[in-house]
């Protein structure tokens, strides 16, 4: 089957899922509680997939993703609530500013490696949080009132665009360059790949979508506070990517869905939730450090079946 | 003294040693020669417990040591001077020597042995308080050997002691190896410098891609056409 044909099949399946959920919401079969769950899942998928590009594909160990989430959230909220811009425009502005923040953070820090990069990104995320904490215009520690604007439609198309852009980027020449950086930076450099450029590019794209998620997040809760964007939030996103399997986009998506649902069910027992969460983390890292999917994609399983049956697959 | 019987050693899925057998008798210098990647260092690492054989046995003085922890093997009397010397550059010469005697409790004898090593390698006495990372390659090799002797081994494993050293220094090192043997330490020597190795060894093994392909008295091997062609070259 041609690649483009497969692509359109996925789009069609996704749209059907969207239509069913939307219909159920409109008809009132899914109440606020569930529609909120679906929106939260969508936001977490966007976060997971955007960080997947940075860590899973490019191999840059960032643990400060919540910082860009915060930028997108606050900027888009300012544009809708304070300046009266339409929501979609504010979402895009929030994402662009987050991407710019990604560039500002990425250019100096991405030449660091491994643990040092991790700590630097964590530090930057905290700085971003503390900046918002100190700006009275956005309410400081008390937080900022935000209009409730996020709907399932916005959330769904946010996810769709994120996945399409990041999947296409990964499969492009640029994506292969990023993977080369992940596998062996020195070798990639020696092959003539501008490793700094690709690291910063992947980081900026990741930040862009984290900012988009921030916009959706901000307009889904009536209020945003700096304390929502601390490093626990960054760890949450990191955990989706790692549990899903570093390098697997579908793994990140599945982990984001699973963990969002699990944490919703344990909402009333926050301590138990965190204890289970941390035990799962430790056990998975000790016994299956490659995560749920390893580097495989869910589509690989289908392809494998076809190969077994029909022989030639590609073209 | 050391009997290796049919060992197989793997790095992940790659087999580095394929059914290697070898014997070292008390008081001998036995040398192991072969090209890069033939499995010489792997053999020494397996003997000293850094690697574990998948199959086969290793006996040292009648006791099996295959798969035992490195510290047990050091205690049993085997010291290993690794390839590339691996001195602790962040510590002084004297601290390196002290670490060589890590498992020994006889403090007085340790102090005497240290003096003995300073006699064998006077340059180390001069550099006693210096960080070992500041020593030259030859001096580091001496330190690595001195450090291993500090454990009072019965069997000393030497991995490429001549690597990267100037010819004059190589001579000194080989001379010292003979001295160490005279004091009663058995030696298993891995070398790429086959010429030098065969000239001081009693017996030798030639190893190629994980197999022992030839063995015998060192002086016979020096004359063997196969060895001459492959390892002695134009020397």
């Amino acid at each position: 089957m041609k690649k483009s044909k497969i692509f359109w099949i996925y789009i069609a399946v996704a749209l059907v899922v969207y239509a069913i959920v939307e219909l159920l919401i409109v008809n009132g079969q899914l109440d606020m509680y569930y529609s909120n769950l679906f929106i939260t899942i969508a936001i977490n998928i966007i976060l997971a997939v955007s960080l997947h590009l940075v860590i899973g594909i490019t191999g840059q160990f960032s643990i400060g993703h919540a910082g860009f989430l915060a930028v997108g959230a606050y900027i888009s909220a300012i544009f809708t609530t304070n300046l009266g811009f339409p929501f979609p425009v504010a979402l895009i502005i929030g994402a662009i500013v987050a991407a710019v923040a990604g560039l500002i953070v990425g250019i100096p820090t991405l030449r660091l490696k491994g643990d040092y990069l991790a700590i630097a990104t964590l530090g930057f995320a905290e700085i971003i949080r503390i900046i918002f904490l100190n700006i009275d215009y956005v309410g400081g520690a008390a937080g900022m009132q935000v209009d409730y604007l996020t709907t399932w439609t916005y959330a769904f198309f946010g996810v769709l665009i994120t996945i399409i852009v990041i999947a296409n980027f990964t499969n492009s020449r640029h994506g292969r360059a990023c993977i080369a950086v992940r596998e062996d930076e020195i070798a990639a450099d020696a092959m003539g790949i501008n490793t700094t450029y690709y690291k910063v590019l992947a980081f900026a794209i990741g930040s862009f979508f984290a900012g988009l998620a921030g916009g959706l997040f901000a307009h889904n809760f009536f209020i945003i506070q700096p304390s929502q964007f601390g490093f626990l939030k960054s760890f949450d996103i990191l955990i989706y990517v790692v549990l899903g399997g570093l390098g697997s986009l579908s793994g990140a998506v599945i982990a984001a869905i699973l963990l969002t649902v699990i944490s919703l069910y344990l909402q009333d027992f926050p301590e138990t939730r965190m204890i289970i969460y941390s035990l799962v983390l430790i056990i998975v890292m000790l016994y299956r450090p490659s995560g749920l999917m390893g580097t495989k994609e869910i589509t690989d399983f289908f392809k494998f079946n076809k190969k077994a049956k029909g022989g030639k697959v590609n073209e | 003294m050391l009997t290796i019987n049919e060992i197989n050693v793997f790095y992940g899925n790659i087999q580095a040693l394929k059914g290697v057998s070898l014997e070292v008798n008390e008081g001998e210098i036995v040398t192991l020669i072969g090209a890069n990647g033939a499995g010489k260092s792997t053999l020494l690492k397996t003997v000293s417990g850094l690697l574990k054989p998948k199959q086969g046995t290793i006996e040292f003085q009648g006791k099996t040591i295959a798969g035992k922890a490195a510290q047990t093997i050091v205690k049993a009397g085997i010291s290993h001077v690794p390839e590339g010397r691996r001195v602790f550059s962040n510590m002084s010469v004297e601290e390196n020597l002290d670490l060589g005697a890590y498992l020994r409790k006889d403090h007085k004898a340790v102090a005497e042995d240290k003096e003995r090593i300073f006699k064998i390698f006077p340059i180390l006495l001069e550099r006693r308080k210096q960080l070992s990372g500041t020593l030259s390659g030859g001096e580091q090799q001496m330190l690595a050997m001195g450090r291993a002797i500090m454990a009072r081994p019965k069997l000393l494993l030497l991995d490429e002691p001549s690597m990267g050293l100037a010819p004059l220094m190589v001579k000194t090192i080989f001379h010292t190896i003979e001295e160490i043997r005279k004091e009663g330490t058995t030696i298993l020597l891995v070398e790429q410098n086959a010429h030098m190795a065969l000239s001081i060894a009693d017996r030798a093994y030639v190893i190629e891609t994980g197999h022992v392909v030839l063995s015998g008295l060192a002086k016979d091997l020096q004359e063997a056409e196969q060895v001459k062609a492959a390892y002695l070259g134009g020397l």
Binding site: I55, F61, P108, T109, L112, G114, D115, Y116, A118, I119, A120, L122, G123, F124, E126, I127, I130, I131, L133, N134, F235, L238, I239, V242, L246, E271, T272, M274, I275, Y277, S278, L279, L281, I282, M285, L286, P289 | S48, G49, L50, A69, A70, Q71, K75, P82, G84, R86, V87, F88, S89, N90, M91, E95, D98, L99, Y102, L103, G133, A148, A151
Partner: protein
């Protein structure tokens, strides 16, 4: 003498950071792991000290000692159960496990006793006296002297004892250390024990000085102590002490200038500047050149 006063406050805070940073730097030096759970060991130390003093009527020094022993055991337990299997794992797997252990300790503590803070009993005389116009409390002097004594003991252990030499050998070259007959696993456990004991001591000192403790108190000092370790050059013991002092003084000055809500940002800005311009830290110039 406002400035002298701030300097004294800064050094008191800095010595707490320094004690925590020592454990970070030792553990990183030996197994290259950022032990995120280290800040939580510090928290456990504070609680052990609290119970020892207020429930079992122990004095300050017995409580300090008890906290150190319990934390040392906890540190070894964590290392044996969670980190030991990770020796050959990827860095990211190790870091995530450490984050997991950290969350586990925090929320298990909350699960058993709730998240409410506890007021630390007053065990050290709160007398103050004047020195060049600055107020110096007994507590500041106590913090500083306990910290200095502990650091001297550590320095002695690392440089003069057999186990200290083994620790340095393992941190430099694990394989070569094995060839010396050093039991690498035990050496790593001892490193955890010592580092965790220092964190436990820091916890008790923190409680006495700041009088309020809670189950999440370890997060921020933990991260800042890591900053201090990086600042001094990670893996370098005197560096951790210097880094902790510098950080404590800088934070105190930032607060004194009226920017107390930016205090935490100061630590992270220092971290980023040091990572970008001098990643080996203040003391990190002539170390780790493996040939």
């Amino acid at each position: 003498m406002e400035w002298l006063q701030q300097l004294i406050n800064g050094i008191s805070l800095g010595s707490i950071y320094a004690l925590i940073a020592l454990g970070y730097t030792m553990v990183y030096g030996i197994i290259k792991l950022i032990n995120f759970a280290h800040g939580d060991v510090f928290m456990i130390g504070a609680f052990i000290g609290f119970f020892a003093i207020s429930r079992w009527d122990l004095g300050f020094f017995p409580a300090l000692l008890l906290a150190m022993v319990v934390c040392a055991l906890l540190g070894v337990f964590i290392e044996r159960v969670a980190y030991k299997r990770l020796r050959n794992a990827t860095r990211i797997a190790a870091l995530i496990t450490a984050i997991g252990v950290s969350l586990l300790i925090e929320y298990t503590t909350i699960f058993f006793r709730g998240a409410q803070p506890e007021a630390y009993p007053n065990v050290v005389s709160s007398k103050t006296f004047q020195f060049l116009g600055a107020q110096i409390s007994m507590q500041s002097i106590m913090i500083l002297s306990v910290s200095i004594v502990l650091m001297l003991i550590l320095q002695f252990i690392v440089h003069k004892t057999k186990i200290g030499k083994a620790m340095r050998a393992v941190s430099y070259d694990v394989e070569a250390a094995r060839l010396m007959g050093i039991n690498v696993d035990n050496t790593i456990s001892v490193t955890f024990a010592i580092g965790s004991a220092l964190a436990g001591a820091a916890g008790v000192i923190f409680g006495v000085y700041y009088t309020k403790i809670d189950p999440l108190m370890g997060i921020i000092p933990g991260v800042k102590a890591f900053v201090a370790a990086v600042l001094g050059g990670i893996g370098i013991i005197p560096g951790a002490v210097a880094g902790g002092m510098v950080l404590g003084v800088v934070e105190t000055i930032v607060s004194a200038l009226g920017f107390s809500s930016w205090r935490d940002a100061a630590a992270f800005i220092i971290l980023i500047l040091i990572l970008i311009f001098r990643p080996s830290g203040i003391f990190g110039k002539n170390t780790r050149e493996k040939v």
